[in-house]
Symmetry: C2
Subunit: 137 residues, 2 copies
Amino acid sequence: MVDKNTKDWSGCPVRFGMSQFGDKWSFLIIRDLMFKGRKHYHDFAEAGEGISTNVLATRLADLESNGIISKLRDPLKGSRFIYALTQKGKELMPMMLAMMDWAEKYDADTEVPQEFIKKLRNNPDKLKQEILGNLPK
Amino acid sequence: MVDKNTKDWSGCPVRFGMSQFGDKWSFLIIRDLMFKGRKHYHDFAEAGEGISTNVLATRLADLESNGIISKLRDPLKGSRFIYALTQKGKELMPMMLAMMDWAEKYDADTEVPQEFIKKLRNNPDKLKQEILGNLPK
DNA sequence: AAATAACACTTGTAAATATAAAGCGAATTT
DNA sequence: AAATTCGCTTTATATTTACAAGTGTTATTT
């Protein structure tokens, strides 16, 4: 017997996560929406990591069909759309913050502002609320 | 200005995470090591998700070279190896637990034992220590 | 000691996915 | 009305992954 707490899950939560957002580009899009204030197609396309446009289009469509992001016409400019995290998407924040905490510890080059890290380690819930407050809607 | 807490990171922690374990198979291997008591090559190969052997070999090598897992001869059977999480790997647990918490909420089919979920939401640190205590070494 | 089996890969080939660049239609700007 | 912006979509090529079979090393059996 391995671990009485976990046993052998058939409907595995990690596998579910992977099926919903389990690739590099999805993570980076979620990061852009959650922490960088990006919301337009070209924001993601030109974010520096160099996603190709067809991959971006399919990732946005997948995230939308999984209910993690929403897509609405931009009222300020009808030729473009505004992408935003849904409630389901916003609730990925604890996972993202945990990843960032880990990365800051193990990557000497990770440039997370010290103030951010301090908040993250002292009072993560407060930080989470602050970031949520800055998100659209 | 978008968010004074995040600004524009060049050494992005999410990107770092993706470079270290940022694909579906790496997540599933980490899950197997962290929660399922798996430690041998064939455990991963036959875990049910159907990873092909060459991909498994390269993922194990990558995770090892990134310092997330270790690889040692099995003293009980010299023809095989024991894979285990390093300290760096074990510290991915908060991220994994956060993902599982989210998945349990949004996937009706996710079969995480209720006892596990209750512990996770009431006292995650205690749960974490329990799981750590069950891990090798 | 030799043959067999178990184990962890490695290789070859086909299929799927990613990248890069160009093209397209609708909406806006000029 | 013409030109431009925007969000894709398509196409061609490159890379990655999947699947099947094979290889080398280490146990185990005979």
